[in-house]
């Protein structure tokens, strides 16, 4: 039965379903909304600006965003890793893309400005950059590394590169996993295998690109939190566009419960004993940041992702389909991405004592039988790990692969498959 009420009718694509004409804002030509004296040449977010005002406006907007980021819990004092003058220290996660490069530039600029103002209380006193090297799983052009180093060197900020396989290094107890209050498997990682072997084994065992992406996200999160463990803040360059993509992708993966947490401009995934995660670019669209990095002549280094070389129409992974879907909507209905972000930002996390999923650190844990039972209409027998619904699907995909073993269905403890890769905190 048709139940459509109040359907809006945005511009419909032509019969082939493809865009033949981008939306034109020629009708909006006029003077810059800010200075009102120079002809506007840039159109972002329902406004038009001249190039100069766009640039200064972006910088001012960043300063305002930073000043509004007051973490809900007082930040930890900087740990022993900080050797700059007293004040909060930050670690910035740099991926080489336009958003994190813009963040590096804007943050470095802010620190410089604060230093030259003796009376200002510095919001952040020192900064270091962390780059997660994914080449063990996704090979890249080796020429990118010197470019990255050159980029960061301009700001006289230390750069630390962390390889994916380091997530599988064993601590002195022979474990890679230390997460409190969580059901853990009893498997002890094989000490004769190298970290790289363990990394590759986990990725090879995953049949789907979506599962690989989720695993990669989890490993990256753990590595970043670990790298920033002595700092006050961990800065992420997530833009409105990135976050809107994550909202839809999270919804599609059954991780709707995680949305209030990852959308919050400040968060502390590991509680008070961890850096506060800040996302100062949450209100900037990818377009704004793409233009900013171009105009400021900043080198954007396109490290490949699992799906960046795949055509937009292919159904490669949840993230890939989502990115194409939202990019297309945004092209016909500008403001879609902001609308998704604003809507999702109104969602409130339901108060819960449940600990966060140890894999993704985003969703609260749910009773395992509910997560498994309702999802597939049948309970998964055997060892069902305490993970969130979304990660449960990832584990199921791992298990399904082994289920097709030569001798018929094989009962594989789910959690043991990935237990090895969760990082330990050496000082725990």
């Amino acid at each position: 039965m048709c139940d459509q009420v109040a359907n809006d009718r945005p511009a419909t694509p032509n019969k082939s379903g493809r865009l033949s004409k981008p939306r034109s804002r020629e009708a909006e030509q006029g003077y810059c909304s800010k200075c009102k004296t120079v002809k506007a040449t840039i159109a972002v977010r329902q406004s038009i600006f001249c190039k100069a005002c766009f640039l200064t406006g972006t910088e001012a907007k960043f300063r305002t965003a930073m000043s509004k980021l007051r973490p809900s819990t007082p930040p930890r004092p900087a740990g022993s890793g900080s050797n700059e003058s007293s004040g909060p220290s930050g670690v910035l996660a740099l991926s080489g893309g336009c958003c994190s490069v813009a963040l590096l530039h804007l943050l470095a600029m802010l620190i410089e400005q604060d230093r030259s103002r003796p009376h200002a209380v510095p919001q952040i006193a020192s900064l270091a950059v962390v780059f997660i090297d994914e080449s063990e799983i996704i090979p890249c052009d080796p020429a990118y590394y010197p470019r990255l180093e050159a980029l960061v060197r301009q700001y006289a900020i230390p750069l630390r590169t962390v390889k994916l396989s380091s997530a599988f290094d064993l601590n002195t107890a022979g474990r890679t996993l230390v997460v409190e209050n969580t059901t853990v498997s009893s498997t002890v990682p094989d000490p004769t295998k190298s970290s790289l072997d363990r990394l590759r084994a986990v990725f090879d065992s995953s049949p789907s690109t979506s599962a690989k992406e989720d695993l990669l996200d989890s490993i990256r999160t753990h590595l970043l939190l670990h790298a920033a463990q002595d700092a006050t803040y961990l800065f992420l360059g997530s833009s409105t566009t990135t976050l809107a993509n994550r909202v839809i992708a999270a919804t599609a993966k059954g991780k709707g419960a995680s949305i209030p947490r990852f959308l919050a401009p400040t968060s502390a995934p590991l509680g008070s004993a961890s850096p506060t995660v800040l996302k100062p670019l949450a209100t900037f669209t990818a377009k704004e940041l793409g233009l900013f990095t171009y105009f400021r002549r900043l080198d954007v280094i396109p490290f490949p992702t699992l799906t960046s070389a795949r055509p937009p129409g292919l159904k490669v992974s949840v993230h890939h389909i989502t990115q194409s879907f939202l990019a297309k909507l945004e092209a016909t209905q500008e403001g879609t991405v902001s609308a998704v972000y604003r809507t999702a930002a109104k969602l409130r996390a339901s108060p819960t004592d449940a600990p966060l999923c140890p894999l993704c650190l985003e969703c609260p844990l749910e009773p395992a039988d509910v997560a498994a039972g309702t999802r597939h209409g049948a309970t998964t027998a055997g060892h069902v790990a305490m993970v969130c619904w979304g990660c449960g699907t990832v584990l199921d995909e791992l298990q399904r692969r082994d289920r097709r073993g030569a001798r018929g269905p094989v009962e594989v403890p789910l959690f043991d498959q990935i237990a090895e890769y969760l990082l330990s905190d050496d000082d725990e």
Binding site: M1, Q4, A252, G254, I321, V340, R342, T343, R348, T374
Partner: protein
């Protein structure tokens, strides 16, 4: 063909879209039906003795719903009194055929049938509405009018509960649409399986976790009679995008539909303050009367409304007065400009919707087990809405004979109604 993964004896006939299992037909039917039964019991959808109307459009969802509910009612002895309730929006071609299907369902399942039509209720068919307002906001009209039509039909039948065939794909699509459109209020409500809190008849969706593909397969294998065409007036614009996205997701991850519903359930955490609609607005500085109040009644037709005049009456007035944008978008500004806060004369107002009190009166007369307290007559036009006494819901299930008589009685009226609609179209 491998063996069925469930019974391991019969040959597998299909692969379940929901779980990827290869199963034989018998196991598929059983799994399909049992999962719906579990949804019904886990969520306590029904009470024994309840009279339940199945929203029947003749399409696959409602046909399978009628079939399965009828079956489960017998198999598990729910003790329900089931009836079919159909809405005739007056869309030539589309609705004629699907109504014919519903009438066949009535015979096939031995269930009484009531058809309520826009033409009878409002004096306007969808064909006429679209001719007047065009294709931009026609779905708003249809959605509002259908809601009232179902409720009125339900009151006439004396039912306590309406079930609709919304399936998992519908709900997943609605979750996505509400995020894209920025409708946080709807987003937080759209995954609830039971809706019993806004004064209208209780509604539920037993197919909430049932995949559309499986409904189609069930209907196909069981040779169920259904009519499948999209509404010719449905725009498909935004929904088209969301639907394609959903299908793409499902192609790589069959559980995506359930995953999205699971996410939607997480959004429903009730921690936001009550919506502005239910709080009384203070009197405006310009002397306007506050237009909102809690769960009251429309002063024209008596339907549940938090506004002084319900949405359907506003839309209808717009149609009658040649103001097709009345009730759409900037409602208040248009209302103020046309002095709609003042009582308008019956001539300008045009035909109004029959008052709910009369509907209840009719229902009480039709049922031999009459209401305990007689309903009060409608208030005179222009006066503030007076609360009408609710007919007692302790109506015991009317005798099967009376229910069937009602159904048969209405079905016989179809012939003259169709003729009159045909006459209208010639004007």
């Amino acid at each position: 063909m491998p063996a069925c993964q469930r019974c391991t004896t019969a040959r597998a006939a299909l692969k379940r879209p929901k779980t990827g299992e290869s199963v034989c037909k018998a196991c598929f039917y059983l799994a399909f039906e049992t999962e719906i039964h579990e949804t019904i019991t886990t969520n306590h959808l029904f009470r024994r003795g309840e009279k339940v109307a199945i929203g029947a459009s003749g399409g696959k969802d409602s046909t399978v719903l009628a079939h399965v509910l009828h079956l489960l009612n017998q198999r598990y002895d729910y003790g329900l009194d089931l009836v079919l309730l159909s809405v005739d929006e007056g869309i030539t071609g589309y609705r004629d055929d699907s109504l014919a299907t519903v009438q066949r369902n009535q015979v096939q399942y031995g269930l009484p049938l009531k058809i309520v039509s826009y033409g009878d209720l409002y004096g306007w068919t969808m064909d006429e509405i679209v001719a007047q307002v065009g294709l931009k906001n026609n779905c708003t009209f249809c959605g509002v009018f259908r809601r009232q039509a179902l409720d009125r039909g339900a009151v006439l039948l004396g039912v306590d509960h309406i079930v609709t065939g919304h399936n998992a794909d519908d709900i997943a699509e609605t979750v996505l649409m509400n995020i894209l459109r920025g409708d946080i209020a709807r987003l937080q409500r759209c995954t609830s399986i039971l809706n019993n809190n806004d004064g209208t008849i209780k509604r539920s969706k037993p197919f909430k976790y049932t995949y559309e593909k499986e409904i189609v397969m069930y209907a196909y294998f069981k040779n169920l009679d259904y009519f499948s065409t999209e509404c010719i007036y449905a725009p498909q614009a935004y929904r088209g995008y969301a639907r394609t996205f959903l299908k793409d997701l499902e192609a790589i991850r069959p559980s995506a539909i359930l995953d999205i519903i699971h996410s939607g359930e997480a959004f429903a955490a009730p921690s936001d303050p009550p919506s502005a609609k239910t709080t009384a607005a203070p009197a405006h500085a310009h002397g306007e009367k506050p237009a909102q109040r809690d769960a009251g009644e429309c002063e024209r037709c008596g339907y549940m409304s938090s506004q002084r005049v319900c949405k359907a009456c506003v839309l209808l007035e717009g149609l009658n007065r040649g103001l097709p944008r009345l009730g759409i978008g900037k409602t208040d500004r248009l209302r103020r400009r046309h002095n709609l806060h003042e009582a308008t004369s019956p001539e300008t107002l045009g035909r109004t919707i029959e008052h709910m009190a009369n509907v209840r009166l009719e229902a009480a007369r039709a049922s031999p087990a009459a209401a305990a307290s007689p309903p009060t007559p409608p208030p005179p036009a222009g006066a503030a809405g007076v609360g009408v006494g609710e007919p007692s819901t302790a109506l015991s299930a009317p005798s099967a004979a009376a229910a069937t008589a009602r159904g048969v009685g209405v079905a016989n009226n179809d012939a003259p109604r169709l003729a009159s609609r045909g006459a209208l179209m010639e004007l």
